[in-house]
Symmetry: C2
Subunit: 643 residues, 2 copies
């Protein structure tokens, strides 16, 4: 029978306190056993935060029999390394057996990894890299607010990680958006790996939160059950519009005399002889050997949870057709499509949400903002927080668009997007101002690495539309399709792509399909493979070559991840290839094509045109010319190749 | 004759104030003309920070005739977009002519890009991505402290960028290390792109700095020359150990009635008719047409500064030989080599500096710290700040090692490293705990993207040593070699690589050469190309295959950027290839090899072994086996390939 504490009560009964003490003893034993058995792991912080975890799980809304129950309160463990503590408490709460945990902890293929992951029943979010958890919790809390739900979001943080600047970004955001359904918990043991937090990087965490406008509840003793209960009760009932943090003074290694306040136990387990001593101190039996034998057996995998699959019903709305004479930028086409999605889906409770970072106008989110003010979030110049928040929000049955310049949406927050990738999120990153097409703002603002960066992840698709029509279809596609999607575009106005007869290529019959490229032109001598902002130049090159009696194909690779292997090989079998991209030449499409050729054992000449040095500050057309990416240079390259 | 203000005086004379007013008028004219001529750029903030810039340059130590004079005070423009203001003031100070600036601003190939770059005489650092400038200035200030130099470092910041968390990291660091030679200047115009800073993301910047322990000088009127002079004098004479920031209330678009306090002028220039009005208001002649004609001529390039080339004399010290029986980790070999470098170079004023983020012990910097406490910097869990600071410090005649886990040294701070790349820095990033070799800590801590990330830059080499001996030589090499270098390694102990006869392969005769691979074994049937932590498994596979009568070569590609093309092609001509790496298979060595094959037109079967999904939490050997990276799987792959 799992302990449940009534948040409406003023204090705990002595029976409840005794029960918590008994639970603590069982959990402390598991923390020590599990880390010694694994010969690695983090016992110190697990013991300092244990009492907080016990009271929190006894008070929050959750159901071990239904770990993903929608009404559950969310618990984000920003300190993913205290997995021994979290798993011990989840076992205590009946999410799985002690046997499963102790037999599998930190073993390959087991359901109990070294940092908490959502494959473990009861774990909400994969964490490990410090400083991101609060942003994740903010994303969940904001999602519940948008949907008018009363779920609370708990976020357990360490004190050392408060050195990360991203936390300040998250604090500011939570205050601005009045997230009083968010409850921060800080395990203030004053120790981090290299020693005292005061020596490593002095700061007052209490001051930090109050300066950021949060309500701070400070507990002199983070191991006092009644104090924890009363603090969480107060925070749980908070409707002030001000987010609350409970900062609890705790003791690293709490409960084991020789471990207390020892920084080294942050990340090192006890040796068997020390364990014996510790278990004796706890007054529990030392059954280490029994578990050592059990760990000789194959790991049990029946507790492993599958990734979340819930995703809202989304109407793609009516596609917009831009006629052949239209001259606009893909950004505007994105903005129009996003507005269309809002009109089709945000009547009543919003389904589509949008986040930007002080660039609403540049990324064309203004129309969406106007239509769905309750679903648009201005995160300020705080990209690290915004990206992490967007990832979490996108897992709460909301379609979450995150838009800013490419350099900020990809290069600056690569590791935040990586964590969303781990977490099987549903992010829709639509980045504008990519490549040399940014022009005069110069190299710091020219993102030429987006494909090279996303190639390092496993669960992000990468789409680069060639014109406003394809942008419209792709934006509607990603809204209706679960998972992480990146859509990138340049800054400048770009012509509508047409067929040879002048008719619109991506017309209303066109359906965007990931992994399928578009044959914009069919020729016999060679193929130009391209995407994005330089596609029009490739078509112009096609024309120049045609005038010179050379017949080339132009293949538009709007879907870069996944790649259209069949079309690449088809092109390679037909003749030489030239890849053209507004991207670093050593990490973009060209190398992907080369790799496909080798994989398929098809040998054909390939010339890779791309960005070979940092771009300058000037007109895009001139920057392209400087790097051989203009129509004449492309045509010349093909001509040389065919000599 | 350039205006010089005497910092020791108590106030400005009326002549000096008149001169500043005259300078302002000339500079305001250039700001307006340059942006209208370019039809893009940022006039608003240039006008709000103009008075600060004028007084600052009149007070700081600098020499237009010798822009890189070592004794100069440094000025970092964290708001790189106010280039029109900066260039106008530099022209006023005689760094170059007004003609050069106005004729070239934002034109391709000119020396006057849209965001400030160090190709412009008088510009210290390429900036553009907000929030990094203070970390850069901190790196310079720390460098001067280490070297016992009295140079001051000015950092001009905007108010909007104070939303970036990295700034808080930099503030904390500056306070901890008592950088009273650092002078922050904040252009507090209360406007950012999307409107008022209070609406976009509320905060008190004054409170922020004082809470971080800085001395705050607030100026009600950031356009009052005497107030600016007195504030900067006070800051200039600061020896309190407390860093100072001057927060000046300014007016966006100051001086042009219809531009004042208009957010839209952050990033948009005046139209010609508005310009005429503005110039009339300034009481200066409107010679727009003359400049428009001048801009029909080719850009002038004679002002363009070459990258910094100064680099200290460094002794590599005595290489350490690890004998064939040694079993240690490359981290320890790095720590030993770093200590050796300190012993050889840090007698008296330090030449070698080291920075870590709460992981001194794990990255084995303890010995260095002990030997050179004045040259070791503990930045706390603040990687964004630490990486940016390291880049700047490495440009001040110091050899700067930045070490933490791979995920934090590369994945988390990719964009900070990118800015160091722009700036031709001399960073020595030595990252430990890379790849599945991290083991039980699991996927969030397993960096499998380092090569894939650095491929997107242009000025970083990437070296992955195979054993402690090669680690020792590579670490000594990068210390003596200018430029940005990345050295990566795993976590586990690894055997010393030997020749077939059992002798040490990387012995004392071995000299590490970038772009040269090592033939660990020579065979006739196929070649295994590998690097880093999986190299021993490849040698084991070689042995297994030898026992099976198959003769393969093992090529160790310790230098991944630059790559040893010749050896790759030599191997390809000899037979099939198998690449083996503890790295994402779609962004690592395998795709580089495939690309080289296509480039060279050499066709041979290639199998790319690498990380194909996120690793688990368990013993490295088991994680390798799961992904086919263990000796048996590698041997099996070769066998299959040769069937």
């Amino acid at each position: 029978m799992v302990l449940k504490l009534d948040v409406s009560k003023s204090e705990l009964s002595s029976e409840e306190i005794q029960e918590l003490q008994a639970m603590r003893k069982r959990c402390a034993r598991r923390i020590l056993l599990s880390t010694t058995l694994a010969a690695s792991g983090h016992p110190g912080g697990s013991l300092s935060s244990l009492d907080m975890l016990l009271v929190m799980y006894a008070m929050m809304k959750h159901d071990p029999a239904n770990p993903r129950m929608p009404e559950r309160d969310r618990a984000v463990m920003s300190i993913g390394h205290i997995s021994p503590g979290v798993y011990s408490v989840l076992a205590e709460n009946g999410y799985f057996s002690e046997e499963d945990f102790l037999q599998g902890f930190r073993r390959t293929g087991s359901g109990f990894p070294g940092h908490v992951e959502s494959i473990v029943p009861g774990v909400e979010w994969d964490t490990g890299n410090l400083g991101q958890g609060l942003s994740t919790a903010v994303g969940m809390a904001q999602a519940h607010k948008v949907k008018g739900e009363t779920n609370r979001v708990f976020c357990l943080m360490g004190d050392g990680e408060h050195q990360k600047g991203q936390l300040v970004e998250a604090m500011r955001y939570a205050r601005k958006y009045r997230l009083d359904n968010l409850i921060g918990l800080v395990d203030r043991n004053h120790l981090q790996i290299c020693g005292s937090t005061e020596e490593v990087m002095p700061q007052s965490i209490r001051k930090l939160y109050s300066d950021m406008g949060w309500e701070v509840i400070y507990l002199e003793d983070g191991h006092d059950y009644n104090a924890l209960f009363q603090a969480i009760s107060r925070a749980y009932g908070n409707t002030s519009g001000v987010p609350v943090v409970i900062i609890a003074r705790t003791i690293m290694g709490k409960g084991i005399s020789f471990m207390e306040n020892q920084a080294k136990y942050h990340g090192s387990p006890l040796k068997p002889e020390q364990l014996a001593e510790a278990l004796a101190e706890l007054g529990v039996e030392n059954d280490l050997e029994k578990w050592q034998e059990l760990r000789q057996q194959p790991v049990r995998t029946h507790t492993i949870m599958a990734p979340r699959t819930d995703y809202p019903e989304v109407s793609p709305g009516e596609p917009i057709l831009y006629d052949a004479k239209t001259m606009t930028d893909n950004r505007s086409a994105y903005g129009n499509a996003l507005l269309g999605l809002a009109e089709a889906n945000n009547n009543g409770t919003p389904v589509i949400t949008g986040i930007s970072c002080d660039l609403e106008g540049s990324v064309k989110m203004g129309g969406f903002h106007k239509h769905s003010p309750e679903a648009y979030f201005e995160a300020g110049i705080q990209e690290h927080h915004a990206a992490a928040m967007a990832g979490a929000m996108s897992c709460e049955n909301l379609v979450t668009f995150f838009s800013t310049f490419g350099v900020f949406a990809v290069s600056e927050v690569y590791n935040q997007n990586r964590l969303s990738d781990f977490n099987h999120a549903n992010m829709k990153i639509v980045a504008t101002h990519l490549g040399l097409d940014v022009g005069e703002d110069g190299p710091t603002h020219q993102g030429i690495d987006y494909l090279g960066l996303f190639k390092n992840l496993f669960r992000f698709s990468v789409f680069m539309p060639a014109d406003p029509n394809q942008t419209d279809r792709i934006v509607r596609y990603i809204a209706t399709s679960p998972g992480n999607h990146f859509v990138g575009m340049g800054r400048s106005k770009t012509p509508v792509i047409t067929r040879e007869d002048g008719s619109v290529f991506f017309d209303t019959d066109y359906v965007f399909t990931p992994g399928r490229a578009d044959w914009l032109r069919r020729g016999s001598d060679a193929t130009i493979i391209t995407y994005g902002a330089v596609t029009p130049s490739c078509i112009e090159a096609w024309k120049l070559l045609q005038e010179a009696g050379i017949s080339v194909s132009v293949l538009n690779m709007a879907s870069l991840i996944p790649l259209d292997r069949d079309s690449v090989i088809e092109a390679a079998k037909a003749g030489p290839l030239v890849t053209v991209e507004d991207h670093h030449v050593e990490s973009g499409l060209g190398v992907s094509v080369a790799t496909e050729l080798v994989e398929a054992g098809v040998s054909t000449p390939l010339v890779r045109l791309g960005v070979r040095r940092y771009g300058g500050s000037g007109k895009p057309a001139e920057l392209y010319q400087q790097q051989g990416l203009d129509a004449r240079s492309i045509a010349e390259t093909v001509r040389e190749l065919l000599k």
